[in-house]
Subunit: 214 residues, 2 copies
DNA sequence: GTGCGCTGGTAGACACTGTCTACATGGAAC
DNA sequence: GTTCCATGTAGACAGTGTCTACCAGCGCAC
């Protein structure tokens, strides 16, 4: 029923499906072609190289993530709440779409610089998100009345962003759970009233945005 | 002159050299064997699989990093200073040994779980560092007199660690510089009196450890 | 209507990879 | 002096990404 779903889109669809279920290791060019039901040379008509196809798949991931941010945004909420849901959305995406998230930051598999049609290069995909983050952080800082030479919003936002990314990355690897369990052996794996990663997120937000009761 | 530098060690040496200069993409099994001057089947005598050899190379990286921490440690300095040099050491290592750092966290290339001789599995390589971090964070928190229900040291340390890792990762990719430049277009690439990444590090430390003048 | 060219896909070759297996070779133990 | 084992060689195998030649349709000028 889809209007002439040209092979180009079908290849990306298949790739998205593969990376979601089996991870980037299964994203071979021939494998994608096989699952799409075409010969191994067919993708070449639309993507000059393997990396180009993977980049198109990753682009879907960035677009998906951005749409989740939009869907979860509540324009009327105070900046701090908006930042919290933004952070939660980021971490949820990373943990629920582990394979895609991994691909999105595997710059050795992507053409990060070159642009293929009239789209901007992949590396700039996170820029709109980042500027949004900067704006929210700036508004939050403006509302807080604590004095002191606050860091420029861009730097503060970068600090928060890198922290979220680090949590996502190390959490996806499992190192985080390992380290936390090793450091607090008293607690059972998940007997606490709250998910340990969620507790970590609260600490992270408190660190970058100040305690909630200030 | 080396006393019977058995091929096992030589392969690791060559691998370390390769990953330092050309990155993990050039760490093919046959490529390493070629540069070591042996046939492509030789490594199999010492490493049952390609991933095992890569894991041994990554292990060198973790050991190197740990020794740098030891070398830079000043036992008598206050916890906050020690944390700062630790953070600096981490980020310096990541930026100066980009390829090795990348390999160390490419779990798809490593045998993170299995142990090969009597060594602990690779995934636990960061545990000593982390417990050290927990200890320093705890001591720092104890010295600070600000009241409030501080987070448990393990969680606070995890928050700091993930932040450092995120800075290292996104910094290595270049996204950080891109984002910061895009957000503050007034500043020339490097006209500030201080390296932008260093400034970011200061903000990160302030966020997790409290402002320096408290 | 009959060629023409072009678009979109096929199929095979090439060099390369990691793994496996059969085979040399050399030195030490008995 | 012979056997045995450790160490390395060399070839095969399936698989990869890329490149190139080919080929089936199809619209379209003439």
């Amino acid at each position: 029923m889809e209007p002439e779903s040209s092979l180009r889109e079908r290849l990306i669809d298949v790739g998205v499906d593969v990376v979601m279920t089996d991870g980037p290791a299964s994203l071979g060019l021939r494998e994608i072609a096989r699952r799409a039901g075409v010969s191994h040379g067919a993708p070449r008509r639309y993507f000059p190289t393997h990396h180009a196809l993977l980049s198109a798949i990753a682009r879907r991931g960035f677009a998906d993530l951005a749409s989740r941010f939009e869907a979860a945004a509540d324009e009327d909420a105070p900046p701090r709440d908006r930042l919290r849901t933004l952070a939660r959305t980021y971490l949820r995406y990373a943990s629920e779409h582990r394979g895609m998230f991994e691909l999105m930051f595997r710059h050795d598999l992507l053409d990060s610089e070159t642009q293929h049609s009239d789209l901007p290069p992949l590396r700039e995909s996170t820029l709109p998100l980042f500027s949004h983050l900067v704006e929210l952080v700036a508004r939050h800082a403006a509302e807080r009345t604590t004095a002191g030479p606050a860091a420029p919003p861009a730097v503060a936002a970068a600090a928060l962003w890198t922290n979220l990314h680090g949590v996502a990355q190390l959490g996806a690897w499992g190192s985080l759970q390992l380290a936390l369990n090793a450091a607090s052996p008293g607690a059972a794996p998940d007997d606490g009233p709250v998910d340990p990663l969620d507790r970590l997120l609260m600490v992270v937000l408190d660190a970058h945005l100040g305690p909630v009761n200030a």
